[in-house]
Amino acid sequence: MTAAGTELTLRHPVERFTLDNGLRVVLAPDRSVPVVAVSVFYDVGMRNEPEGRTGFAHLFEHMMFQGSANVPKMEHARLVQAAGGTFNGSTHQDYTNYFEALPAEALERALFLEADRMAAPAITEENLRNQIDVVKEEIRVNVLNRPYGAFPWLQLPQIAFESFANTHDGYGSFVDLESSTVDDATDFFSRYYAPGNAVLCIGGDLDVTETERLVQRWFGPVAARPVPPLPPTGEPAPTSARTAVVEDALAPAPALAIGWRVPDPVGNFDSYLGTVLLAEVLSEGDASRLERRLVHGDRIAIAQSSYVGLFGDPFDVRDATLLTTQVHHPAAVPAERVQAAVHEEVRRIAEDGVPADELQRVQARTEAQLLRQADSVLGRTLGFAAAELVHGRAELAGELAARLAAVTPDQVQAAARGLDPGTAAVLELRATGGRR
């Protein structure tokens, strides 16, 4: 364990308890700045939505900001922001979270707001129609009206996986969104937003005893409901290569994405950590293997990146997930050439391993990035909450720097051996329009 890892672990002790209604509570006090972060993570994400209701987890996230039993529409935002705080929510593959960062004196107000919508969000026809329109504009901004909007996060899973849970469009089709009803929303809330299906994590400037009392006061009265079984999202590892070509009429230059199935992020955590560092060795910074080879050496790429997890956070997902390498390249360079160079660089690591000094540099950089994220009360709190929900141990978030620092060259080499061209999913984006 490095010095920094030790300090991070020690400075943020984690307290936890469970309410009678099943709500799991994690407190991570740190009184160095008068800021507190409150987050609620519900154990339902894009992978859990039923067929015919693509995009529903995200649409429902919007509904949670429409007011609740004791909070009129727009007032959730006003009560947080007029206290000097910020708020947001986000829908992930395996969970949906809601969070606020506020001056410490606004803690109880945030607890009230989260408890009020955990008990009874304002699911009305008017609010639902309004938010369907808003979500459609969100999809137009982020996907339909821009080049590379669906690349590769909505397109690659379609060939990388088999099951509906893993292949469908988590932003949702307009047909599914528009046909959503208040009953759908009420049922979804009833099934997935039970207190026993959630983690409440509070970090920053708080007194543990007083905060426990406030949590009991506001969340204790929320009625218990049955907790749905955790749906399996894992699927057998692929045994063959799969390819697809998509056309992007807005894009001015082609792009390529290669996705490989990686070890189970929870069940096979040690192997998974090797994969996480492999992605860094491949793509992080000017010293990385693919930056040197594709961008500066062969000059066949404009930009490259590799990451684990569909949204780039390796620690917010359960099985099944990918290591994705994404390359934007000039039109004059054939995709096959880029693909061959990526596979060759992965094979070099699989065959020759990674020198210890190279891995140490990568580990130092990774450690600095983790520390930077942990410097923000909100960033730290979200990390603890995700670790509690996905791994059952909030403490893991504080130990990550040390765990990654302990990864050996052998683990990274083993991870590279898992990136077999024979089982990769390759997505080629062709630029069919756009301006140069």
Partner: protein, 451 residues
């Protein structure tokens, strides 16, 4: 539904914000140094800001093109290390240097592990004093930059930003938001070596270090590493920016677009203008945060858009009030109508005390949040020092915000938030939106900017 608002817990007593102490000094070569020790994670954040404005308007196109290549190419090699060697040395200390350029400055930025301060400063000094700009690697870099600009120009938000800047600033350098790819493709190593020699100068530049750091030791390390950095020229600031008020709506045609990008922009008070606090508050109430009139109207009531927003933006030679909304094509004109309507309400009628109080608390709270990390504080201090303001300016500004009245907000809104004070751009499918927009104001249609 009957609501019992008395349930809502009141706010407790505010706890004092820790006030970090900035230790300032100036090296004999003119480089300013600001060190801010701060508890928190064992990291240091580094920001080096170098003035980098175009010398003249005529020179701006070429300067911007060269600057866009220089910011990547400065990392391609020094007298002592090649590109990989530089990257590896930094990486071993948890660092990765990013170099960015805008119309006012170059910014070198990184995070680093505390033990790496001296070696990272050493690499920084090497880059500043002996970057080589190897000809062959520069060619590779400029070709990539030209490709990236092509990709950027396919983004509707980038097209809209460029169109608004061109309309507001005419032939001032601020009119150029992205360099011309043809000029980029002509950049070579000689041009960059010359530009570096003329413009990367210690006098006028400012280095900010924040985090797990001891000021005296840090000052020694900086003096040891950067004391030899020399240069004979002087820093260049942008000439005063005109703000041309464009009449009617300029419609940039983007055939087939499923959304329209509405952009409004006009002048705003600068950082030292006594009107600034009132305008910042007016901006918040209008569209500066979720709890604003614009969001309530065109998002939460009408569902026209996902993230409408307004902002106050500062550049060295001129500040701006900006409004942005990306809206469904079929509601483009109604969305602009509502956007203007809300501006009219701001300009003509007083805001409520509750609106003013909420906006004030939000600005103060979010300033506290954004400076509660090493990285946030470093970026804030770097921007202030770059604008010629002391780090203590933040506290004065907070005090000024606390004293703004409803009347002052209305006066400021009348002057700065009137729709007649703002230049309007829409990027969208002209065939589908021009007719309806014409009912609101004269529309001039033009093709998307040629790349």
């Amino acid at each position: 539904m009957s609501l019992d608002l008395s349930l809502i817990p009141p706010l407790g007593e505010p706890r004092p914000q820790p006030v970090p102490t900035a230790v300032e000094s100036t090296l004999p070569n003119g480089l300013r140094l600001v060190v801010v020790p701060r508890p928190g994670v064992p990291l240091i954040e580094l920001r080096l800001r170098v003035p980098f404005a175009a010398t003249t308007a005529a020179d701006a196109g070429l300067h911007t093109a060269r600057g866009s290549v220089l910011s990547g190419a400065v990392l391609l090699g020094t007298a002592a290390h090649d590109q990989t060697g530089i990257a590896q040395l930094l990486q071993g200390h948890g660092a990765e240097l990013s170099v960015g350029s805008d119309p006012d400055r170059l910014l070198f930025a990184t995070t680093l592990l505390p033990g790496g301060l001296a070696p990272v400063l050493g690499i920084l000094a090497e880059l500043l004093t002996s970057a080589t700009y190897p000809d062959d690697e520069v060619e590779g870099e400029r070709d990539r930059v030209a490709e990236r600009i092509g990709i950027a120009l396919s983004q509707p938000g980038v097209i809209a930003r460029g169109a608004l800047a061109a309309r507001r600033y005419g032939d001032h350098p601020y009119a150029i938001t992205l360099p011309d790819p043809a000029l980029v493709s002509a950049v070579d190593g000689d041009a960059l070596r010359e530009l570096h020699r003329q413009r990367l100068l210690p006098a006028g530049s400012a280095l900010v270090l924040v985090g797990d750091i001891e000021p005296a030791a840090a000052a020694d390390a900086v003096a040891a590493a950067l004391g030899e950095w020399a240069g004979t020229g002087h820093a260049v600031e942008a000439p005063p920016a005109p703000d041309l008020l464009g009449a009617g709506i300029e419609l940039v045609d983007r055939p087939g677009a499923v959304q329209s990008n509405i952009r409004l922009g006009g002048p705003a008070p600068g950082r030292t203008d006594p009107d600034l606090p009132a305008v910042r508050l007016a901006n918040m109430i209008y569209g500066g945060y979720f709890s604003s009139r614009l969001v309530e109207n065109i998002r939460e009531r009408r569902g026209y858009t996902y993230s409408p927003r307004s902002s106050v933006d500062h550049q060295a030679a001129g500040s701006s009030f900006l409004v942005e909304a990306d809206v469904a094509t079929e509601v483009t004109a109604p969305a602009l109508l509502e956007t203007w309507y809300e501006l009219g309400r701001m300009a003509l009628l007083p805001v409520t005390e509750a609106e003013l109080d909420g906006a004030r608390r939000y600005i103060l709270g979010s300033m506290a949040l954004s400076t509660a990390t090493h990285a946030g504080l470093a970026s804030t201090v770097s921007a202030l020092v770059g604008a010629g303001l002391p780090p203590g300016w933040l506290a004065e500004h907070q005090q000024a915000l606390a004293e703004v009245t409803v009347e002052q907000v209305q006066e400021a809104s009348h002057r700065y938030l009137s729709s007649t004070a703002l230049t309007a751009i829409v990027v969208g499918d002209a065939e589908r939106v021009a007719g309806a927009l014409g009912a609101l104001a004269p529309v001039s249609v033009r093709a998307s900017t040629p790349a």
